[in-house]
Amino acid sequence: MTVRSEHLAAVTRDLPSAGAFPTHPLDALGWSSLTAEMERHRTVGYLSWAVADGEMPATDRQMEEIFERHALLMRHALVLEDETRTLARRLHPHGVVPVLLKGMAAAHLDHEDPSLRVFQDVDLLVRPDDVDSMVADLLLVGCTRDLPPRSEDWDRRFSKDIAITTPRGAEIDLHRTLVPGPFGFTLDLEELHADTVAVDLGGIAVKALCPERRVLAAALALSVGEPQARLAAALDLVGTVRHHGVDTAVVTDLSERWGVGALLAEALGWATDALGEAALPGDLRRWSVDRPTSRRERRIRNVYRSAGGSNTATLLAAPAGMSNWRDRADYLRWLVRPSPAYRHARAASARPREWRTGLSELVRRRP
């Protein structure tokens, strides 16, 4: 596989030779630091292919190590795909077709080869009305969930996602929305589901979001989805634009309508910095530079961990993204005083007490 410019950027951005491959194999420390970064950014596939192509010099031992690690990650990816296929077979008779998100969708649709994209769990988008029945169905076949819901209607009204572990140990995140906190509530979930594309997963039909929605999903993952941005999400975004000729006006209009224009602009800026100006079309880059961020957007953005906020701040700020007072009141009520089942399960787990740590973090952060 030919190493393209964004592959080069993906592998070389943290090297001393930034922007170019080194001329000799890295020493042990440099190699170990590079592979650790590639693991964190979920870009081991890119490093592995760059080594195989001879672009990235490596000793025999380094080569063996990266190929072994890559094959192991691909085994895991295939187990996850097999689990998804099993789940899809269960859901088809009920007229439900799972919508793949993030790594698995991007691997099949937005990268030149699926082996380039590493992922560690399954992310599926579920209509709010289907969440309860899908969770119940999975629990019936031996899957487990970490904690019970905070209230009887929490999963379908307020949850970002429900993490389910299959009997084979695979993690499936059933997403009601794409990101936590306020921005997760400004998204129009009906409209999010409205345009999908078909994906064949080992002979089983599943779906993924259409390219414009995948760009937005990648932008959200890149900006507020994780405490630290991952290069894999930037490569997903750039890959979708490159391979599918995304309509800039559609993406930007959707982002504004869903209240996440500032996040799209931020993510496009991050991707340009990381992967180079050539990675994105000029009109999209110009839009990201010209789009102003309002004070309100900045205030909300700052509650997220990737901007120095905290999980507690993100949870407490969520009502800012809700459109009616009843939702805000119900959300805060169950957030602060969850069901006894939730409290008991949490107390029985090894977690720290919920509000003590979170609130002390908030107090420490106040200027």
Partner: protein, 92 residues
Amino acid sequence: MTATDPVLRRAPDALVRLCPDRTLVLVGDSVHTLAGAGVALWDLLVDPLRAPDVVQRMQAIFAEMAVSSDVATFVDDLVRVGVLVSDSPPVN
């Protein structure tokens, strides 16, 4: 070669990744990692082939790779784990 010889093909529902060192990872009944001749067999079966043809061509590939192996058993194993399918029971 007769009309009753089984035809071998790649399992149409196999989940597959080809790694840069030509390691092939596949899911049949469980996950399998194939290297070298396994990848050659996968490439060979881009189109369905009668089993004797597969064995003959794989013997040539094995000889070229200086690999000593019982081709028929190797192919049968891949049918057994579900990454190759046969339209009739494999030939013993």
